[in-house]
Every structure is written in structure tokens, then in C-alpha cells.
């Protein structure tokens, strides 16, 4: 199991995967918006998206878990 964490504080701008989807290592999972910039957050390993912990528009802090991949 792998947790996809925010690398910095910001707003969740877009969630680009769905629960149940097969994702590859390096694939973008969530795009954060921080300081007027889009920050893509990628999966560190391949797997299936088990859970999305955030919704678009949510505010997240550095290290918050955004998604869980199995």
C-alpha cells in the first residue's frame, strides 16, 4: 500500500484519477494549486487507486494524504 502525500500546502485543483483505476509509477494523481502554480502530485509506485482522501477545492497541508494506492 502506498500513500500519495501533498508535497506542499495548497488547494486541490484537480483529481485526475478515479477509485479503482490502475495507475503507473510517476502518473499524476492530484494537481494542487499553490502560490498561483499547478503542482502535480504523482504516484510513487504502480497500483490501483483504493481511496481518494480529498475532494477538488479542499485545502491541504504539506504531508497530508491525498490518495491511497494498493
Amino acid at each position: 500500500m502506498q500513500e500519495v502525500k501533498a508535497s506542499m500546502a495548497g488547494n486541490v485543483w484537480k483529481i485526475v484519477v478515479a477509485v479503482g483505476e490502475q495507475v503507473e509509477e510517476g502518473q499524476d494523481i492530484v494537481i494542487l494549486e499553490s502560490m498561483k502554480m499547478e503542482i502535480p502530485i504523482a504516484a510513487e509506485a504502480s497500483g490501483v487507486v483504493k481511496e481518494l482522501k480529498v475532494a477538488e477545492g479542499d485545502f491541504v497541508n504539506d504531508e497530508d494524504v491525498l490518495a491511497v494506492i494498493e
Binding site: M8, M35, K36
Partner: protein
């Protein structure tokens, strides 16, 4: 006469505007979001009002709330600074409706220059050269392909309502075009609420050189020479200098005259900047007009001795310009380095807690900063936290002062671009003046 000004902005520019107001004996009203309660500019103003939650839509873009605060505080004018509501036609018009002076041009000029396509066409009509490209929004990808063939690759694909480099992309081939067209149009729709795209020929080895203008309500207009802002990352400026070391005196004169001619034809009022791309042969092409004060205005102030904010306030209160073109001359060389809270390698933002800050000091050093020690840089706003401005009697001296100043600029707790700035100012090509817009990608190994 303006007696009290509300500053509809935050950070370093709010502090900068307050400073000139104090010098002129004008009362100031600051607004702030919940994220900016501790910001230095808030306590600098005579009065301050909380306008809402951290997100810009609920605070710094909240037109009705800002107007209500201006009325409550009995401010008679609003200075919008840059960004936020500064180029918002509806806001300028709302101020007018409410009997408040908007310190900037009229809503209709803001609208015209805000649409890049309309601005290109207006300049073309006035006789100002524009970059070869399309004169209307591109409806479909098939049209885009045809136009790109006619103009010739590489082309710059741009969003008509764009800014800050968003929705903009260099395209080298037809294969790239379809994907770029759709993606950028969608992005522009999301960010600006308008997905209209147009294209321009990409000018190779271009320099970004802009002309600062001032125009009053009595038909007088002058230019305050140029700024060269070629050092950019992600299409955003990093280092600016005035004057440009590249253009000849005759090009300088022609660019200044073109800018003055344009603002007179547009019946433009207040401070503004006309941005041009300049090619290797010193041909210049209109890029866009910024209908507000610009981030890099201090370098123009340093070489002309003019306080641009003071002129903005005078013009807005209906006074005629007292400076004539013939009164002006360039004194020395000024450089500005923008301090960004960002990772110097990836350019990703770096919000966080500033534990300690130490600014360089000296007779030829000017600091404009929006932060202080023991202060949180939040993720809600632009990553620019300050500007370091230096002045020398010539470019070589200015670079030496900048190098020294950067080495004593200390910010602890967050990452900043200072290491990158240090590399740039020591780079042989920068020292030589080979400063095209491709400088960072060419020489900074990214």
C-alpha cells in the same frame, strides 16, 4: 485632491504605495485576508480592515466587500496595485459608479487592452508594429493548422485573456499543435473564463523590452524610457534592468515615441507599460499593454528620479503632468532581482515559516519586501516575497552591487531563488549582456 486612499492589494506593493501616500500626507486604508493579519503592510496603514477568508475570491477579489470598506472608511480613491483587481474593467467601473476614484485608466481601456486580440488590432490600427500573427480568435483546430502554416513554425500559441504565462506555449510542428491548442484553450477557460486562443510568430532570440508611460487627463503623455526584462522563468520575469544595454539610442527614441503615440491614440490615462519584443536587428513588436503599475517600476524610478506612485496619485486627482519629455534623462543603471519563495532548481513554490530575515543595506540598495522575521508565507498568493533593487553609475557597477547585496541577503526557514539569482548575475553571458528571453533555459540547465 485625494485625502484618503484604500489600497486594494497586499504584500510589498501595498507597503510601497502606503509609503508614498505618507510622504504626500495622504491617509491610507489597508485591506487584508485572514491569512495576512500579521503582514507588515497592515500595520503601516492608518486604518486596516479584514475583508475575508484567505482565498482571493473571498478577499482581494471581493469587489463588493472592498467597495463597502472604502465607503465605511471614507476613502475617496482606490489604488489597485498590480494583479488582483488592477486590470479588472468591472471593478474600475464599480468605483466610478460609487463616486470613488480608481487610480488607473478607464474601464473601457482596461477592457480593450485586456483582450490580447483586441489590443493587437488596436495597435495595428494606430500604426504600432505587432508580431505577425492572427487578428481574431481561432475557432477550430483546422483553422489553427492553416494559420500556423501561413505564419510559419515555430509559433507562440496564446490565450487572448491570458497572463502570467498561463495558456501560452511554443509550438514547433503541426503534430504538437492539436494537443497544445486544446490543452491551453481549456486551461485559459478555467483560469480566465475565456478560452479564446490566437497565435503569433515566435521571434527568435527576442528580448523583452517595455516602455513606462505616464498620461494625464489633459492630453499630456510622456515615456520614462525602457526596462529590459528578458530574464524570465516560466514566462515570468526574474531580473529586470533599466536602461536596456542592447538597444541603440535611436531605437530607444523610436520605441518611446511609439509608446507615447499609442497612449495618446487610446486616450489612455495614468501609469501604464507597453511591452515589446525586440529582435536581433532591433525591430520591435507590440506584445501587450499593462494598464497598471508594474512590479519592476522601481528601476525606472531609480534612473529617472520620478516617484511613479506619486505621479499616479496626481494624475488620478486631475492634475496635469508637470514633467515634460525634454526634462528627462537617464541617470545610471538600475537592476531589480525578484525574490521568490520557491525551490531554486524546480521552481516549485516553497511556502512556510520565515524564522529569520536579514536584508542587504547600502546607499545604492533598495528593498521592497512584503514579509518579516517570524512570519508565515502562505500558499494562497503569488510566491514573490520581495524585490531587491540596486543602482550603479553604469551596468558593470550595478551588477557588482547586486552580487554583493545578494550575498548578504538572508532568509531562513523557506527556500528562495536567491542561489539562482546569484548564479545568473555571475554568469558570463549575463555580464556580457546576452540576455534574451531564452536565457534561463539556455544557460541555467533546466
Amino acid at each position: 485632491m485625494i485625502k484618503k486612499v484604500l489600497i486594494a492589494n497586499r504584500g510589498e506593493i501595498a507597503a510601497r504605495i502606503i509609503r508614498t501616500c505618507k510622504k504626500l500626507g495622504i491617509q491610507t486604508v489597508a485591506i487584508y485576508s485572514e491569512a495576512d493579519q500579521e503582514a507588515p503592510y497592515v500595520s503601516m496603514a492608518d486604518q486596516s480592515f479584514l475583508v475575508g477568508a484567505p482565498r482571493v475570491n473571498e478577499s482581494y477579489l471581493n469587489v463588493e466587500r472592498i467597495i463597502a470598506v472604502a465607503k465605511e472608511a471614507k476613502a475617496c480613491a482606490i489604488h489597485p496595485g498590480y494583479g488582483f483587481l488592477s486590470e479588472n474593467e468591472a471593478f474600475a467601473n464599480r468605483c466610478l459608479e460609487e463616486g470613488l476614484i480608481f487610480i488607473g485608466p478607464t474601464g473601457s481601456v482596461i477592457k480593450q487592452m485586456g483582450s490580447k486580440i483586441a489590443a493587437r488590432n488596436a495597435m495595428n490600427k494606430i500604426g504600432i508594429p505587432v508580431v505577425p500573427g492572427t487578428d481574431e480568435a481561432i475557432a477550430a483546430i483546422e483553422d489553427a493548422v492553416k494559420m500556423a502554416e501561413k505564419i510559419g513554425y515555430p509559433i507562440m500559441l496564446k490565450a487572448s485573456a491570458g497572463g502570467g504565462g498561463i495558456g501560452m506555449q511554443v509550438v514547433y510542428s503541426e503534430e504538437e499543435l492539436a494537443k497544445a491548442f486544446e490543452g491551453n484553450s481549456k486551461r485559459a477557460q478555467t483560469f480566465f473564463g475565456d478560452g479564446s486562443m490566437f497565435m503569433e510568430k515566435k521571434i527568435e532570440n527576442a528580448r523583452h523590452i517595455e516602455i513606462q508611460i505616464l498620461a494625464d487627463h489633459h492630453g499630456n503623455a510622456i515615456h520614462l524610457y525602457e526596462r529590459e526584462c528578458s530574464i524570465q522563468r516560466r514566462n515570468q520575469k526574474v531580473i529586470e534592468e533599466a536602461p536596456s544595454q542592447f538597444i541603440s539610442e535611436s531605437t530607444r527614441q523610436r520605441m518611446g515615441e511609439a509608446a507615447v503615440k499609442a497612449v495618446k491614440a487610446l486616450e489612455y490615462t495614468n501609469a501604464g507599460t507597453i511591452e515589446f519584443l525586440v529582435d536581433e536587428l532591433e525591430n520591435f513588436y507590440f506584445l501587450e499593454m499593462n494598464t497598471r503599475i508594474q512590479v519592476e517600476h522601481p528601476i525606472t524610478e531609480e534612473i529617472t528620479g520620478i516617484d511613479i506612485v506619486e505621479e499616479q496619485l496626481h494624475i488620478a486627482s486631475g492634475k496635469a503632468l508637470t514633467i515634460k519629455q525634454t526634462d528627462l534623462q537617464i541617470d545610471g543603471h538600475a537592476i531589480e532581482a525578484r525574490i521568490y519563495a520557491e525551490n531554486p532548481v524546480t521552481f516549485f513554490p516553497s511556502p512556510g515559516h520565515i524564522s529569520h530575515i536579514e536584508l542587504p543595506e547600502g546607499p545604492n540598495i533598495r528593498n521592497e519586501v512584503g514579509v518579516t522575521a517570524d512570519y508565515d508565507v502562505t500558499p494562497f498568493y503569488d510566491p514573490m516575497i520581495g524585490k531587491l533593487i540596486v543602482k550603479g553609475s553604469n551596468r558593470k557597477e550595478a551588477i557588482a552591487i547586486l552580487k554583493e547585496a545578494l550575498s548578504s541577503y538572508k532568509i531562513d526557514g523557506i527556500k528562495t531563488n536567491i542561489p539562482m539569482l546569484q548564479e545568473i548575475v555571475q554568469h558570463e553571458q549575463f555580464i556580457k549582456g546576452n540576455t534574451t528571453t531564452a536565457f534561463i533555459e539556455k544557460f541555467y540547465h533546466i
